[in-house]
């Protein structure tokens, strides 16, 4: 991957006696689209504000292009922020809002005018230059906020749940817009969201956070397919998280039934958590699979059916394009590749996190 742009080194931050960020370290590369993903209140905004310079970490350092900027005020950082509530200046027109940063850095009038035109075009708002902030919709304000940030050509753009206030359709449109913008401009994005679908759709790298910790970090595929702990598995998409134990390498005991799997290195007879995605559960005729059960619930979701199957004392969540009526006897089997083994949470604290979910 390309060179390092931002490094967070052992950042901690508390408000009063409440520890919000706990020894967080993170490296972000140039041109990367990194998403901080986690439930509300887990410290995403705080992390972003520390990078933006609006909050001082209690300990740890922030490096930008190798330079320590921990104590640099926000106005001297080569980055811009799209705030959660857009924060457009209501006493200025759309064009004046966009020009704000350029005027501060004393660009020529010609340059500023060109940039305003260019930025408005980029976000499809050409006709809005002289409108007031209060006269445009939330989605439009959001686009102006992005335009206002990117005209300054920052190396890094911080976005705090920028699509949170938009309705579903507009949100999906804006997701594509943002990806397009990022590719066109070659800016590094750090994006905050609590929406796992958004994170998986848009990012090069997803950082899953909970209670101020990084739970897992990786490509969207690896986060989805190989969650490292129960929190990540539960937070990303729906999944069956079943307690079990590793009998030996590549053999796991789930609910008293042995399944082949592909994981090894957990030792013998070790308690583990097993993650199986609902779309990976294969239903068949009774006796044809690894265990038998009975359908207890079914709803039609458009593309597929979602069913609950009681088998081995566990309620399995199953997604399939073939529906089975409630009460039908079925069998369950799972391809070894689709069985994901995770270590049991090490501490009670992590156990509590799981229960929270």
């Amino acid at each position: 991957m390309s060179s390092t742009l931002v490094e967070l080194e052992h950042i901690s931050k508390s408000y009063g006696s409440k520890l919000i960020i706990d020894d967080l370290s993170l490296t972000i590369h140039e041109n990367e689209f990194v998403t901080l993903l986690g439930p509300s209140g887990c410290g995403k905004t705080t992390t972003l504000r520390i990078i933006g310079g609006f909050e001082m970490p209690d300990s740890g350092r922030v490096l930008f292009e190798g330079r320590d900027i921990t104590n640099t005020p926000p106005n001297h950082r080569n980055l811009n922020t799209v705030f959660q509530k857009y924060a457009l200046f209501p006493n200025m027109t759309i064009a004046e809002n966009i020009a704000f940063g350029l005027r501060i850095s004393k660009k020529s009038k010609q340059y500023i005018d060109d940039k305003i035109k260019y930025a408005l075009k980029l976000v499809n708002m050409e006709d809005f230059a002289d409108r007031s902030v209060d006269s445009i919709s939330g989605g439009q304000q959001q686009r102006v906020a992005i335009a206002r940030a990117i005209v300054n050509e920052p190396k890094l753009l911080l976005l705090d749940e920028p699509l949170g206030a938009l309705d579903l359709k507009l949100r999906q449109e804006m997701q594509y817009e943002l990806i397009r913008l990022k590719n066109e401009l070659g800016i590094t994005f750090i994006y905050v969201t609590h929406d796992q679908e958004e994170a998986l759709t848009m990012s090069d790298t997803v950082v899953v956070m909970n209670q101020g910790y990084i739970q897992q970090m990786g490509t969207p595929e690896s986060i989805y397919n190989e969650p490292e702990n129960a929190f990540v598995a539960a937070f990303i998409g729906d999944s069956n998280i079943i307690p079990g134990f590793m009998v030996q390498d590549k053999l796991v005991d789930i609910l008293g039934v042995r399944f082949d799997c592909v994981d090894s290195g957990f030792g013998t007879n070790t308690p583990v958590d097993v993650v199986i995605r609902p779309e990976d559960v294969i239903l068949g005729k009774p006796g044809e699979g690894r265990m038998d059960g009975r359908v207890t619930h079914i709803i039609f979701k458009g593309v597929h059916y979602e069913m609950e199957v009681m088998a081995g004392g566990f309620e399995w969540l199953v997604q399939s394009t073939v529906g089975h009526p409630v009460g039908e006897e079925v069998s369950i089997s799972v391809d070894p590749f689709n069985i994901q083994i995770m270590n049991k949470p090490a501490s009670e604290d992590e156990e509590a996190i799981k229960l929270d979910e």
């Binding site: 106005n75 811009n80 922020t81 705030f83 006493n91 940063g101 850095s105 209060d134 300054n152």
Partner: protein
């Protein structure tokens, strides 16, 4: 139904009559030709002429305006700064300071005036126009805070931070982004402070130096030696000015709110 609404109107009329009849009487009498209180002898503006020719009155007017202007300006600055500092305090300190701010509002004027006078004397500060101004600043600040604080809370920190984010220094961010949003609150706070200062008698009475009169202390002095209709004329003008200022202050804070609301509705 009909009857009820008539009753309502009568009730309102009576209330308004009781509230404004005294002032109306005073206004009418200020245009009276003769000097007797009870008898209308014809319309005339000569008490107004007398008033403008009266040096004592003009002197008191000048003092009143100077005191009101200076204390309104100073208390507006201090009160606004106070409002800006509040969000940075933790919640405990914030409630302590807000309570302290409210004490002068609740305190009886006579206690405020008396204690200020005692303090000035105890510290060897000669009573003068300066002490009056200091006293007025103390009781005006809470009014400024009352009208500026809601605006500061409504604005929050994000606009300021957004300006910093775009490269503005804290100074520029304040003047270009924060101040324009607080303008209406600050201005109505200033008008409130000005009005309260013009309106005050008791605190001024206790803290003024010898020979210094504001309109209210001068009128009070005249009442004791025999009241002249010039005072009616003066009171009429004071009432009208205060009335206009109050309306202006309400219109200004109301207007910015309705403009906001209308823009919202349009979008």
């Amino acid at each position: 139904m009909k009857k009820h609404s008539v009753l309502k109107k009568v009730y309102m009329a009576v209330i308004i009559l009781f509230l404004y009849a005294p002032i109306l009487t005073l206004m009418v009498l200020s245009f009276n030709e003769g000097r007797t209180m009870g008898k209308w002898t014809g319309f005339s503006l000569h008490w107004y002429e007398d008033m403008f020719a009266d040096e004592d009155i003009m002197d008191a007017l000048k003092n009143t305006v100077i005191i009101a202007l200076v204390s309104a300006v100073v208390s507006t600055v201090i009160g606004t700064l106070f409002c800006l500092a509040l969000p940075r305090l933790n919640s405990k300190m914030r409630s302590v300071f807000l309570a302290l701010n409210n004490i002068p509002l609740l305190n009886a004027d006579i206690v405020t005036g008396l204690s200020l006078m005692l303090m000035f004397v105890a510290f060897g500060i000669t009573l003068s126009m300066g002490t009056v101004i200091l006293a007025h600043i103390t009781f005006c600040i809470p009014y400024v805070v009352l009208s500026v604080r809601p605006k500061v809370r409504q604005l929050g920190m994000t606009h300021y931070e957004a300006a910093l984010d775009l490269g503005a220094t804290p100074w520029v961010a304040f003047f270009k982004v924060v101040l324009p949003e607080l303008r209406s609150g600050i201005f109505s706070g200033f008008l409130m402070a000005f009005t309260m200062s013009v309106d005050d008698f008791i605190v001024t009475h206790f803290t003024r130096g010898a020979g210094i009169n504001t309109l209210s202390t001068m009128i009070y002095g005249q009442v004791r030696i025999g009241i002249r209709p010039t005072v009616y004329a003066l009171s009429t003008i004071v009432f009208v000015v205060v009335f206009i200022l109050l309306i202006a202050s309400n219109v200004i804070s109301g207007k910015s709110a309705t403009v906001k609301a209308r823009r919202k509705a349009e979008s």
